[in-house]
């Protein structure tokens, strides 16, 4: 328990130091696009597969849930509400945490144990501004876009399953799906993604910078990065949802 609070405090101090470094030095320009490419494009195939299968399962479960009530037509509504509002942002964040977040933690961890971070400092380059800032900007740019792509793929897959496997009427699916969500829901999904990106990047890089010795250290840092960032994202998701959809605004 004590060590949890100590870790939180260290993370807070590290973030403060990081934002000050970015404020003073500014991020390097060439790196940012490169990192955005790595985070966005290289995670895309996995995200597509995962969100397609989440969409198919949403349709199956929605069908099963509404069938006893005779409301199979509501599958479209169920899929669009659950997919757009909750699952797509969470799935995109979890996959980016698993793919890009672990990569950040292990790359920075390896640099740390090979003393390349110290070498940067010796060359009067601030490692936080040089290594973390481009990754942060990259993830903040890419994660909202990936979330919207995930929404699209999820709905398309759900539509395919509903029409082909479950034999529902396609136009009803589209009608119920488009009536139950509003354009603002997409914006809310992107807002969630911005917060998740911030959490994933800072948590993963924090664990990379505080990596232990040797190969075990890198492995442990990578492990902690993915678990901690996905748990924090899901916890945070509740509060963002409560604010955006809970009627308390």
């Amino acid at each position: 328990m004590m060590s949890l609070f100590a870790g939180l405090g260290r993370y807070g101090l590290w973030c403060k130091e990081f934002f000050r470094a970015v404020w003073v030095h500014g991020p390097p320009k060439g790196q940012t696009l490169h990192e955005a490419f790595r985070i966005g494009i290289q995670s895309l195939p996995i995200l597509l597969i995962i969100s397609a299968f989440v969409g198919t399962n949403l349709a199956l479960q929605g069908y099963n849930a509404f069938k006893p009530l005779g409301g199979q037509r509501l599958v479209g509504m169920f899929v669009s509400l659950a997919g757009v509002r909750e699952l797509a942002p969470i799935i995109a964040a979890a996959m980016i945490a698993a793919k890009a977040g672990t990569e950040m933690a292990s790359q920075i961890g390896v640099m740390k144990i090979r003393e390349q971070v110290d070498a940067l400092e010796v060359m009067a380059v601030n490692p936080l501004a040089y290594l973390v800032a481009p990754r942060l900007i990259g993830i903040l740019l890419m994660l909202p876009a990936l979330t919207l792509i995930a929404i699209f793929v999820m709905l398309t897959a759900a539509y395919g399953v509903s029409v082909v496997q479950l034999g529902l009427a396609g136009h009803e699916f589209i009608q119920f799906a488009s009536e139950s969500i509003e354009p603002i829901d997409f914006l809310y999904g992107a807002v969630k993604a911005v917060f998740f990106g911030l959490i994933i990047c800072t948590v993963s890089c924090y664990f990379g910078f505080h990596c232990g010795k040797g190969p075990e250290g890198v492995g442990a840092a990578t492990n902690k990065a993915v678990v901690t960032s996905s748990v924090i994202c899901i916890l945070l998701n509740y509060f963002i949802s409560e604010l955006l959809y809970g009627g308390s605004l």
Partner: protein, 250 residues
Amino acid sequence: MLNALAAMGRFGAFSGAIARRMMRRPLFFGQVIEQTWHTTTRCLLPVVAVTFPFGMVMALQGLEIFRIFGAERMLASLISIATLRELSPVLASVLVAAQGGSSCAASLGAMRIKEELDATEVMAIDSIKFHVVPRVIAMTVACPLLNVAGSVAGVAGGYFTAVFIKGESGGIFMAELWSFMEPVDLYGGFVKTTLFGLMIGLISCYHGYRARGGAAGVGKAVNDTVVHSVVAFITLNYFLTSFLFGAVAP
């Protein structure tokens, strides 16, 4: 493309080697129990910390939908079915992959890099038998156990939001909790998570066992483990759901 096929073949051969060794004695029971205990206790907190808020979110969004129809009492059965069938098995397995699978890959990878696995072989102990088989069994056993904890936490999270935050009646929630439940909902999650756990165990051990190239290689093994196992079991999940819950057009 060819690389991916070759990797699939290597993975198949590796899984075959593990399966062969599971059939033959000796099985290192001490290792099995230690690894199971280790995996379960280390994953328990993350699993509960993820399913509980997800149950809360489900109650939040579900209430809004059911309010439209004036059917708030349906909420509990939606939460229990969705949690037991999908959310808890998938989320618990994601977390087992992220926590248990990645730490398994990290420890095996570190052993490979430091040549501890070779040292085991030199001592005439089969390294797959001693290091890999217990981890695979541990993951297969731990995943269903954690799913139970995840299901309880998910339903509890739904109850928490519905009753304490949104002010629905607790009695109705508990009364409706089991109204649409069928036996398949209970053992379906068990079947799913056993297979997911087996998959996570095999994939994480495969990547850890074949790690190379120093500390960076361990990092890559961990990364590949999480990504590949999540992709694998979410794909499998679709077929299992279709099969178990019989969602096919009449």
